[in-house]
Point group: C2
Chain length 207, copies 2
């Protein structure tokens, strides 16, 4: 038990140390940092989080975090509406957006199927995805971009079963050796798969 | 540049990533965690920090963070008022309190003398410390418990010069090999000092 000289300080440190990965010492460091800032800075900090929590909206189409009923990506005329990339949460949307390699739409599941954590298909936006596919005859492909874990694979398989009767392509992101990784340190499963799913050189292109 | 789908989300992530040691990815993780909590939890989190910043008081005697003009330690009749331990900031007070080995009072300097950072004696509570020593004839000892860095040593020396004419003992915390550390990995300066300032076994005590 820490010995704080101030109940207010203790309360603030306890709130911070509820955050994932933030221990008591880090929490105290963060709180003391904020305490040294101007009152307005702290007010802005507190306000930003509260505003987000009170006013956040989830896109009615892709379930991404949004400020409006239809998010910027779903409402953009420049996005390719014939492709939906299914991801676990909004961090994956940001990660894929940052690659600059994908121009389709998304579908945020809000988690993955995990019996251990009591998360079943009904807890995710899977029904909404199936409905979305059914409602969009112009759809060509659903890309499953979930974690390469047991839960990710389970969810992939479940989604495949739910979607396989539609006239669309269903694909999963490539698993393989990460760029810059050395072969000898790759795990056997990944290495095995990366040989099995090897990609052919396209001889019509150079480089 | 990250691609956030929500301005509110972006604002909250930016506020969190202003905190020391918190990058954009961690900030996003923390914000998404809070977003998943009940509205009341987020309100309590925001409020705790704001309350602290608006209502924090520094103890008029030791300059520790406090809820009242005289902090719990300074106003406790169980503390030994004949000893003052001088520390850099409130984290050091907490660290020393957690050892359970010290029962005197504190004096929080609010930093250490660091010409590189433009911090001189006038920026710290050194005058208040000197005044406090002058006003307390019952005082026996001032313990300097500052960092074992160049700046800490500079500050120790400056404090010694300011306090040496009072009828008190002035001491510094022991420097040496940390408990559990192996000698061969200790740096030479620490090892050298720990030999120079070796402590004699007290033969009247056993164990």
């Amino acid at each position: 038990m820490e010995n704080f000289s101030s109940k207010l300080l203790q309360a603030a440190v306890e709130e911070f140390s509820q955050l994932p990965g933030i221990g008591k010492k880090t929490a105290l460091r963060l709180v003391l940092h904020l305490l040294r800032q101007e009152s307005g800075v702290v007010r802005r900090f507190s306000d930003a989080m509260l505003q987000l929590r009170e006013n956040v909206v989830y896109c009615t189409s892709c379930h991404n975090i949004s400020d409006r009923p239809l998010c910027d990506i779903c409402s953009s005329p420049r996005r390719d509406a014939s492709t939906i990339c299914v991801v676990e949460d909004i961090r994956d949307v940001i990660a894929i957006e940052n690659t600059g390699q994908y121009f389709g739409l998304y579908h945020v599941l809000g988690g993955i199927i995990s019996p251990m954590d009591g998360i079943g298909p009904a807890d995710l936006t899977i029904d909404a995805l199936v409905q979305r596919v059914a409602d969009n005859p112009g759809l060509d492909e659903v890309i499953l971009a979930l974690s390469t874990t047991m839960e990710g694979d389970t969810t992939n398989f479940y989604l495949y079963k739910r979607l396989k009767d539609f006239e669309i392509r269903i694909s999963a992101i490539a698993r393989g050796i990460a760029i810059g990784d050395e072969l000898e340190y790759a795990d056997e499963v990944t290495l095995g798969r990366s040989i099995l799913h090897r990609t052919a050189y396209d001889k019509t292109r150079t480089g």
